[in-house]
C-alpha cells in the first residue's frame, strides 16, 4: 500500500484510532492525494494518542506549510512499530500520558518547553528519530521541499537542469569538462 493509498483507505475492522484532515485547497500536496480529505488508521494507538503524537512530531520539526498529512504518516509508521513491540508501546504510551491531554492544543512555546524538559528521555529520542526517518520520505515531503526523487526513468538531469544555475559564472572548461551530447 502506498503512502497516498494510506491516506484515503479506511479499514474499520481493526482500527483502534484515526487521524483525519483536509488538505488546503490549492496546496501542491492536494494534487497528490485525490480528494481533499485524508485519513490515517491506527492498529494500536487511539485517536487521542495519535493527536498528541502528531503534535509532538510537528513541534519537533515544524514546517508550517507542510500539511498534517505528512506528519500523520510518521505516526502511522510509529503505530506499526509499537504493534510488534510491547516495550516500545509502553514507552510511547507513557510519554503521551506524561505530556497530558492538553499538549496538542497548547501554544507552541509551551509545547517546546514540555519537550525540552524530557529531551533526554527514550520517548523524546524515539519521536525525534522516527520523525526524521519518515517525515522526509513521502511524496508529500518531496513536493514541499522541491526534491525530485528518482531520476533514472526520466533520463537523469543531463538535460533537465543539472547545470542550469546562472547566478554564478560558468566554470572554465580546463577545471571541469564538456557536457556530452
Amino acid at each position: 500500500m502506498t503512502q497516498t493509498d494510506s491516506l484515503k483507505r479506511r479499514d474499520f475492522l481493526k482500527t483502534t484510532g484515526v487521524l483525519t484532515g483536509l488538505l488546503v485547497a490549492g496546496s501542491p500536496l492536494a494534487l497528490l492525494a485525490p480528494g481533499r480529505a485524508w485519513a490515517v488508521d491506527f492498529k494500536t494507538l487511539t485517536s487521542a494518542e495519535g493527536t498528541t503524537l502528531l503534535a509532538v512530531s510537528r513541534t519537533l520539526f515544524p514546517h508550517d506549510k507542510l500539511e498534517d498529512a505528512a506528519y500523520a504518516l510518521v505516526i502511522q509508521s510509529l503505530d506499526a512499530d509499537i504493534g510488534k513491540d510491547p516495550a516500545a508501546a509502553k514507552l510511547i504510551r507513557d510519554g503521551v500520558a506524561q505530556l497530558g491531554p492538553n499538549f496538542a492544543a497548547a501554544p507552541e512555546s509551551e509545547r517546546i518547553a514540555a519537550l525540552k524538559a524530557i529531551e533526554q528521555s527514550g520517548f523524546f529520542q524515539t519521536m525525534r528519530v522516527k520523525t526524521l526517518s519518515v517525515l522526509y520520505t513521502s511524496p508529500l515531503a518531496y513536493a514541499y521541499f522541491g526534491y525530485e526523487g528518482e531520476a533514472f526513468s526520466k533520463g537523469g538531469y543531463l538535460v533537465r537542469g543539472f547545470n542550469n544555475l546562472r547566478w554564478l559564472p560558468e566554470v572554465p572548461l580546463a577545471d571541469s569538462g564538456p557536457v556530452p551530447g
Binding site: F61, G156, P180
Partner: protein, 522 residues
Amino acid sequence: MAKIDLNDEHAIVIIGSGAGGGTLAHELTRRGIKVVLLEAGARQSAQTFSQNPGEAFGQLTWLEPRTSSGDWGAVRDFPTLPVWIAKSVGGTTTHWTGATPRLQRTELASRTTYGSIPGTSIIDWPIAYDELLNYYKLAERRMCVTRRNGIPGLPASNNFKVMYAGAKKIGYKRVHTAYMAINTLPRDGRGMCIQQGFCAQGCKTEAKWSTLYTEIPRAEATGNLDLRTQARAMRIEHGADRRVTAVIYRASDGKEQRQKAHAVCVAGNAIETPRLLLLSDSAQFPHGLANSSDQVGRNYVHHITGFIWGTFKDPVYFWRGTTLAGLIEDELPHNPKRGFAGGYHFELIALDLPSLPLAGLPYGWGREYTSFLDDYRNMAGLFINGEDLARADNRITLNDKVKDSFGLPVAHVHVDEHENDKAMRKHAQLQGTKLYESIGAKRVVLSGTPPATHNMGTARMSRDPRDGVANAWGQTHDIPNLFISDGSAFSSSGSANPTLTIVALALRQAGFIARGLKAGTI
C-alpha cells in the same frame, strides 16, 4: 562460471568481492589460476539498484550489528552504525561515489614526514611511492579515471559552480571536477553518466566503475572463477605448519561448508577482515590468526570528515548530478604552520532529502533546524576528507557479549580522537564556512562526523613485523599463504578516498601471488 570442488587444494580463496577482492579475483583467474570468491552479500545489478534511499540502504549495506565506544563523533551520534560498508557482490564499489584521488608522496612516508607524534602509532608504508605510482597509472587506465590519460573531467554541476566560485574567491587555486571513475562517455563496456545524483545507491547506467560489472564478469568469463554469493566466511583454518588450509563458511542454503585452499586472501573491508582473523584464533594463534604482533584490528583509521552546508538566496538543486564530482586540493600538502600534521581534501557533496536529516545534519530540533532545511532547494554542500593518524588503541575487537545472526561475536569499534584530528577539522570547518560566506551564503551549517565510509589500517603493512600484520606485498608476516587484499592493509590513511589505492595494491599483489605460485614459494 567454474565449479571448484570443496576439496580442491589448489584453489585460491578470496573473501570479499569489492575493490580489492574483485580486482584480485580477475587478475588471478586471467592468469589461469582457479579462484573461489566468497561474497557475503547478494548479487544486484543496474536493473535492481533502487533510487529510494531507504530501500537502497537496506539492499547494499552490511546490516549485522556493531557496537562502539570512544569519544569519536561517529560513535556518539551513530552508536550502532559508526561505519558504513557494503555487503553485496562488488562490495563497497556499489555504494562509493567514484572519487579516485591518489595518495601523496608524503602520505606514504607519514612517519618520516611528520616525525614522531605522541599518542599515535604512525609508520611509513613499506612501499616506495614511485612503485605505487606505476600501479596507480594502471588502475586509472583500468577504471577510466577522468582528468587522467586524456579523459576530460566531468562537466560542472550547479553544486560545483557554487564550490568553484567560493573556492576562487578565497584564493584556492587547485579546484576542478575531480579525478573520478565515472564515464563521461560510454567506455570499456560501461554506460555514460546522465547526472542522476544516486551514485551512492548503485549506478543504474554503470557509468561509475564497480567490480560488479567489470572485474567480476571478466573473471567469470575466464572459466576459472567460482563466485559463491550469500556465503559468509566464519573462520580460516590452518595446519601445524602454520599455513592456512581452508575457509569455513556459511553457504546461501544455510549449511556450513569447508573450502580447502592453497592460499587465502582476505578482502572483507577493514572491519570484517580483522574480525575474521580474530575469530580464527587457535592454540598456535591465541590472539587471532596472523596476530603474533597483536596489531590485528589495531591502528584503525578512517578520515577526518564532516559536511558543510550553505544555503543561498537562489536555487542550487544540488541533488541533480554526480554526487561528488568536485575537488579542492589546496589544503592537501602537509603544512605544520596550520597547527596539525597531514592535509585534507574538500569534496563536493549533496544528500537526498531523506538522508540529509538522518546522516548529514548535526543534532537539533525545532525552528532553528527546520528553517535551514526549508531552504533545501537553495542548498550547496562540501565534504571534508582529511588524514586520520593511527592510534594503537583505535581498534576493532570482538564483543563477546553481542552475537550476530550466526552466533558470532560482533565487531566492536573503539575510537578516541587525537588533538590532530580536532585541529584539522576545525581548520577545515573555518575554511569551508569562509568559502560559502565569501559568495553570500545566508547560513552555513556544520555537521558532526557521519558514519565512516573510508575504513583502513586494521591489518596494516609494515616493514617491522612488530608494527603491523603484513609485509609490503600484503602477505601476512606470520603466514606465507595468507594475504590482506583490501584497505585494511593501508599503513596510513592519507587524505585520499581509498578505492584507487586498493585497486592499485590488488593489481600489484596479484603479480606477486602469481609469481609465488609458479615458483612454489606461496
